[in-house]
């Protein structure tokens, strides 16, 4: 790093190609944004990230302004803060007041609400036209399209194009007529949408929401996040499992997951309800008179052991075989192979990779 600029009176070194916003953020400056998502090309639409740049007549959007050697930047002045307050009031005036956005809608869904609190913007200063019309008619059970909350930041459109390469959603019209839409203004299911849920997770207002998670909006308790790995394919996407006490209420992608860097697919994002499905087996079962019936652990262990003991006595240890799972964790596969090798003294073990 050879170039440097002055940020709020302190010299900061930077790499060529860094924006003022990136430098400010890594210098722990609290510059607000709405249309910004780390993974997307900056758009500079919301103007909340404006900063004062010496020599420039007007404040500049820090997310789209490349840093150059010798710049003098102030991230928070009275004028800038006033400007941000007015912008927030304008944005908030777009949305219906008094709607509480449940955090289960999506991981970025609280961004606008938090800004409104920060700038004491309750939407009363500007009244009049609003943009966005909700698509309550879309029957898909995964993505809520509550566009009354939309502020036209285009993060959903951009994540679909830039991150996913799917180009399923786009922008129609301009100004107060702006609509986020699909080809022929139809349902998501009839578009190129793959229901990866990335639009939901980047939406800063909750205009797009996770309908599977929202089924649990009324479940009492605080939302807890547990970092884990998706249980489906071999990519190994990092996720946060959302729970309220012992109820699993949703899944969100982890932006710092090394394999996925915030991306997920329809299965990882939306297909988790099986975990607490009524069909789950809750006790051991043993076969009695031809039927599988619930049993105690003691009885089940004894029946399992007795059967292996009997077969070993009658046919020898090479009559016993075990199949380990490619779905369960290492500890499962390790214990099963040890059961066969250290227990019966054979290598009669495989996993489900050949079929």
């Amino acid at each position: 790093m050879s170039a440097k600029l002055t940020l709020d009176g302190r010299e900061v070194l930077f790499e060529e190609g860094e924006t003022i916003y990136e430098i400010a953020r890594r210098s722990k400056k609290d510059v607000p944004t709405l249309c910004y998502d780390d993974r997307l090309d900056p758009l500079g639409a919301c103007r909340l990230c404006v900063v004062e740049l010496e020599g420039a007549r007007n404040p500049v959007a820090s997310c789209t302004t490349m840093a150059t050697d010798g710049m003098v930047v102030r991230t928070s002045t009275e004028a800038i803060e006033k400007h941000r307050k007015t912008l927030t009031e304008l944005v908030v005036s777009e949305n219906p007041r008094g709607v509480e956005i449940d955090p289960l809608r999506g991981m970025a869904s609280q961004e606008l609400a938090l800004l409104a609190v920060r700038y004491e913007a309750d939407g009363s200063r500007f009244e009049g036209a609003t943009s966005g019309r909700s698509r309550k008619d879309d029957p898909n059970p995964m993505i809520l399209r509550d566009y009354d909350q939309c502020i036209s930041c285009y993060r959903c459109v951009r994540v679909c194009a830039e991150q996913e390469g799917d180009y399923a959603i786009s922008v129609e019209n301009r100004g107060f007529q702006t609509r986020i839409t699909t080809e022929f203004a139809g349902f998501l299911e009839d578009s190129a949408c793959t229901f990866c849920g990335q639009c939901v997770q980047t939406c800063p207002t909750g205009a797009l929401g996770d309908l599977r998670a929202l089924q649990n909006a009324d479940v009492p308790g605080e939302i807890e996040k547990t970092r884990s790995i998706c249980p489906y394919c071999g990519v190994g996407c990092s996720v946060d499992i959302l729970s309220k006490d012992d109820k699993l209420v949703g899944v969100q992608p982890a932006m710092d997951g090394p394999a996925n860097e915030g991306a997920l697919c329809v299965k990882g994002q939306f297909a988790w309800e099986w975990v607490q499905h009524d069909d789950r087996l809750k006790t051991p079962l043993v076969r009695k008179d031809g039927e599988l019936v619930p049993a105690s652990w003691d009885e089940a262990f004894e029946r399992a052991a007795e059967g292996f003991r009997g077969v070993e006595a009658k046919h020898g240890r090479h009559a016993i075989y075990a199949v380990a799972s490619g779905r369960a964790p290492h500890e499962s596969a390790y214990s099963v192979q040890k059961f066969v090798r250290a227990g019966f003294g054979t290598n009669y073990i495989d996993n489900c990779s050949r079929a």
Partner: protein, 530 residues
């Protein structure tokens, strides 16, 4: 994978073969799309016009099971055009002269007659890959689930070795593992020929190591694969422990599989649900699920990562390792006194060479790619830098063979099988999730519109599809995603048990089933039933 997932954004030429990546590994595919936005060329070879094919610069629609011919012809062209990397050949490989001789007859025109792919397209694809600065190959089960799966992989290795596209950033030969921890199951030693960490069971030094660790004599012979074990059920195999696999629905030749499991004297299943397989068991243990257990998964790029419990297990469900150790202790086996998954994982690391530098705490952030041979080692994101495990890369000379069964008058249509985006395997999980069921509520056989007409079927109507092993009734979907003469089904729906039809043959080396090729006959269900 020889290279990490992050490298998927770096090649200038991408060759995807036998991988429907946008549906089976969607998040990995987003990285390829980024590479393409930066100008990378994409070559896709697949019998079906999959979504990835739509994005390709060249699409090679090969006939199912003809990969060796296609890949041999690409190697032929690369050699003919002088696109081999002479210094890589000289320093890192052996056996190229033999391969050159072998490839002489693999002309693109000959390959066209086998694969159906125009010779000019084979040439163009070969030239692009041969000229690539960073050429990367990605494949999935479309390569391995054939009687010639090993030949297919060796054919790909030949392309890699000829061009030196290995051991560098943005290159490599990259199989995409299909299950969240299928890599980990192998790493943990759930294989008939390897102890944990791929240490051969037939190596005397390794045998000694494990005999000492476990305090007992170990078997000196390799075990048998699951495929063989299922064949031996009722013959030499009489008891089975199946952990977290719905064998009956996922494995080929369902009738055979059902007969095999039913002829066991003792079947114990550990699962989260009473699956079709569990319903046949003598004892079923309730397994704690994802979200309920702590543990480790290793992904397709050899990265061990921690999974964590967020909620309590349902009912009395318990982690697999706890259940297995319970049975083991009842049998009087020693060495099963674990009290936490951490103890189990650390024991694995202790005994594995590839995990030796890891432990439970070190994998918590998933920063390492194995092998991690000792503590403090940074891990190995890119394999085969400077040297291969055997020293020099050896060219092999696979020849084209027909699939186990080929189409004829009785079974005139090729069936190939796979997954769809919204569902996973036998639907034990996605079938109980509202979104996936909404998107794909039932199985459909995908048939080219011309074939729908030619075979007297109806779009949306029912068809009877039969093979030499069985038949299913399935709804027809007319789609140009299937080429003429080839149809597609997934194996996700138990009421359309597509594996009642499959099971024509197995790779002689790996025992992997030829699930990607099965000659079938399709008839409208009404005429059949009338």
């Amino acid at each position: 994978m020889s290279n990490p997932l992050a490298d998927m954004e770096k090649p200038d030429v991408i060759f995807c073969i036998g991988t429907n990546m946008t549906e089976t590994h969607p998040v990995a595919a987003t990285r390829l799309k980024k590479a393409m936005r930066h100008g990378a060329k994409l070559i896709v070879a697949d019998p079906r016009r999959i979504p990835l094919a739509e994005k390709a610069d060249i699409y090679l629609p090969l006939r199912v099971g003809s990969d060796v011919a296609l890949l041999g012809a690409m190697a032929h062209v690369i050699e003919r055009e002088g696109l081999v990397d002479p210094s890589f050949l000289e320093e890192r490989t052996e056996g190229f002269d033999k391969l050159r001789e072998h490839l002489a007859t693999f002309t693109p025109e000959w390959a066209e007659s086998i694969t159906g792919v125009p010779a000019a397209d084979i040439e163009q694809a070969a030239i692009w890959y041969g000229k690539a600065e960073r050429g990367a190959i990605y494949y999935t089960l479309g390569i391995t689930e054939h009687i010639c799966g090993v030949d297919n992989v060796q054919s790909l290795c030949n392309l890699v070795l000829m061009t030196g596209n290995i051991g560098r950033e943005g290159t490599g030969i990259n199989p995409m593992r299909g299950q969240n921890n299928i890599q980990g199951a192998g790493d943990a030693g759930a294989l008939p020929n390897n102890y944990p960490g791929f240490q051969p069971v037939t190596d005397p030094a390794i045998q000694k190591k494990f005999a000492k660790a476990w305090g007992r004599e170990v078997d000196l012979e390799k075990g048998i694969t699951k495929v063989r074990a299922l064949e031996e059920c009722g013959e030499s195999i009489h008891a089975m422990l199946i952990c977290g696999e719905n064998t009956l629905v996922s494995d080929p030749n369902r009738a055979h599989c059902q007969h095999a499991l039913e002829s066991l004297e003792h079947l114990v299943v550990i699962d989260m649900f009473v699956t079709e397989t569990a319903a046949l068991a003598d004892v079923v243990f309730p397994a704690a699920a994802w979200g309920e257990v702590d543990g480790v998964f290793t992904n397709t790029e050899r990265r061990p990562q921690r999974v964590r419990a967020a909620v309590k297990p349902q009912g009395e469900a318990k982690p697999d390792w706890w259940i297995v150790s319970g049975i083991a202790k009842r049998l009087g086996f020693s060495g099963f006194d674990w009290e936490s998954p951490k103890e189990v994982f650390n024991e694995l690391c202790e005994l594995s060479e590839t995990y030796h530098g890891l432990d439970w705490d070190l994998v918590s952030e998933g920063r390492h790619h194995w092998p991690v041979p000792e503590k403090g080692h940074p891990g190995t994101p890119i394999l085969h830098i400077g040297e291969f495990p055997r020293g020099r890369g050896l060219f092999m000379t696979p020849s084209y063979r027909d699939p186990a069964e080929t189409i004829d008058d009785e079974y005139p249509t090729w069936l190939t099988t796979g997954r769809r985006l919204a569902h996973y395997h036998t639907r034990t999980m996605t079938g109980r999730s509202v979104g996936s069921e909404y998107l794909v509520p039932e199985e459909l056989v995908e048939v080219h519109p011309d074939d729908v007409v030619r075979l007297g079927l109806e779009d949306g109507g029912l068809a009877v599809m039969s093979s030499r092993r069985g038949e299913v009734v399935v709804k027809v979907e007319a789609t140009e995603q299937s080429p003429r003469g080839t149809v597609f089904c997934s194996f996700s729906f138990s009421d359309v048990p597509i594996n009642a039809l499959t099971g024509s043959g197995y790779d002689p080396i790996t025992d992997t089933a030829e699930l990607k090729v099965c000659p079938v006959r399709l008839e409208a269900a009404t005429t059949q039933l009338a």
